[in-house]
């Protein structure tokens, strides 16, 4: 019961939903609507696991005084503060403090985290982006040509733009299309393995 029923569920719903795509009849559409509605609700509950996990990790670090445990206090306090200010008593999603924290704490930090990557890509360009072989030279030249499109190069601007467009719509298109086809085949194979019960890692150990 612990392993067989989940396998039956996966198979039944997998096959039904795959067939549903080809049978757009009224009852099949209704069933499909129901499934989409319910599965979203189930999924929302699953997300609570992520929040619980965050609390659990923080609590564990503080309890055991792990390295840098003080920062876990910052995480937990800020999390509960955000939840508190988001309660309907404070105006929910439209509460003033909730919005202020989002705009002046969350946005600046998250935006800056990603902006740090600008420095690392500059460093990588200097230290690692080398023409070590013919293959890496092709990569380097392609990147340089794409980058040159941003710079006003006077009379050279037009040919550089043309090369850039050609690169995107000919070799880049071919390369990315091959990857897409490969990913697609892999995705379908994985989904089939799950539906047919060949892939069972989600069941865990028992």
């Amino acid at each position: 019961m612990k392993r067989q029923i989940p396998l039956v569920l996966v198979f039944t719903f997998g096959v039904l939903l795959a067939i549903q795509y080809f049978v757009p009849s009224e009852p099949s559409q209704r069933g499909y609507e129901f499934v989409l509605d319910w599965i979203t609700i189930i999924g929302i509950f699953a997300m609570v696991l992520g929040i619980w996990s965050q609390i659990h990790v923080g609590y564990y670090k503080i309890k055991h005084r792990s390295e840098d445990w003080q920062y876990s206090v910052v995480t937990l306090v800020s999390m509960f503060a955000m939840i508190l200010f988001g309660l309907s008593f404070f105006g929910g999603l439209h509460g003033t403090i909730f919005r202020l924290i989002y705009n002046n704490v969350f946005i600046p930090i998250q935006a800056t985290i990603f902006s740090l990557l600008a420095f690392y890509i500059a460093s990588a360009s200097y230290r690692a982006f080398r023409a070590r072989s013919a293959v890496s030279t092709v990569l380097l030249v392609a990147a340089l040509l794409l980058m040159l499109r941003v710079i006003p190069t006077g009379p050279l601007a037009d040919p550089i733009n043309q090369i850039g467009s050609w690169m995107l719509l000919v070799p880049n298109l071919a390369a990315k299309r091959a990857i897409l086809i490969g990913v697609g085949m892999g995705g379908v194979a994985t989904a089939l393995k799950i539906v047919l019960g060949i892939e069972r890692s989600y069941l865990g150990k028992d």
Binding site: D37, N103, R127, A128, N161
Partner: protein, 285 residues
């Protein structure tokens, strides 16, 4: 220690410092960068321009603060274009941390319309903000059947049937197109679950990191346009005759790109000099 050894051993913080200098300097220099819109950007602009007042369009603004820099300019320019054309705009976000930011952007543009276009688009009449839902694939599939499945209410808790502009609007069949502004794999879901499943007319605006990967969909006409990164954003702003942060950012981009190209050249020169000096077949480090 020779010059190339020194160059190869350069502390990365010097690289950081030079980049910072090159990014700050253009803020004090007055110049403009020529921006020429490419076909894939122009197609989106032309499509929206070709719509009639009262037509519905869905803008799925699926990005978070981490990619706000690249996609906010497109969102602002496109929303203003849609409002100015008196289109009915359905907005939503499938990004878990972008909901408030997107809400404010939509409201900002609607409020600014009074100043630039002489009228204020009203929430519920001219536009609606459906808010956020998790699991983009399921939500896109759900909206294909009925917007009310994933979004029984809008962001403010109003049921969809009580919103005047949503009465009689069931699914993608009622919207002329979906424009997805995305900073992640939500675009994949829109192409697969929106276009492949329901035949949604779709265009994408995305971060630069993603742009090159979506050209196969453009060529196969699964999407009818691509706005890629800050350059695409600046091109869209130019088409809308609405220069904003992207236009200014392109000035800085020029300086930053120059310095990164110089880094690549110096790095390679040092590498080749070092390789010649040691052994021809061995790498210096």
């Amino acid at each position: 220690m020779t010059l190339h050894d020194r160059l190869l051993a350069l502390d990365r913080r010097w690289v950081f410092a030079v980049l910072t200098l090159f990014v700050i300097t253009p803020l004090f220099i007055k110049f403009s960068v020529p921006v020429t819109p490419v076909k894939e950007v122009r197609e989106i602009y032309d499509f929206i321009e070709g719509l009639k007042p009262g037509d519905y369009i869905l803008l799925s603004l699926d990005y978070d603060p981490g990619s706000l820099a690249e996609l906010h300019p497109v969102a602002y320019a496109m929303l203003e274009q849609c409002f100015a054309k008196r289109l009915k705009v359905i907005t939503l976000t499938l990004s878990q941390t972008g909901a408030q930011m997107v809400e404010e952007a939509v409201k900002d543009v609607a409020d600014s319309c009074k100043l630039y276009h002489g009228f204020t688009p009203e929430r519920g009449i001219d536009y609606v903000y459906l808010g956020y839902k998790p699991y983009p694939g399921l939500i896109i599939l759900g909206m294909g059947m009925n917007f009310r499945i994933p979004f029984p209410q809008d962001y403010y808790g109003t049921t969809l049937d009580s919103i005047p502009m949503m009465r009689g609007i069931k699914n993608y069949d009622n919207v002329k197109a979906v424009i997805n502004l995305s900073a992640g794999n939500v675009s994949d879901y829109w192409v697969a679950d929106g276009n492949a499943r329901y035949g949604v007319k779709l265009a994408l605006a995305m971060t630069g990191v993603m742009a090159a990967d979506y050209y196969p969909y453009y060529q196969s006409r699964q999407i009818f346009g691509i706005i890629g990164g800050m350059k695409g954003a600046a091109e869209y702003e130019k088409l809308c005759k609405n220069p904003g942060t992207a236009a200014e950012a392109m000035k800085i981009q020029v300086f930053a790109h120059v310095v990164i190209i110089i880094f690549i050249i110096i790095g390679n020169l040092a590498y080749f000099l070092g390789r010649r000096k040691t052994a021809p077949t061995q790498e210096s480090r």
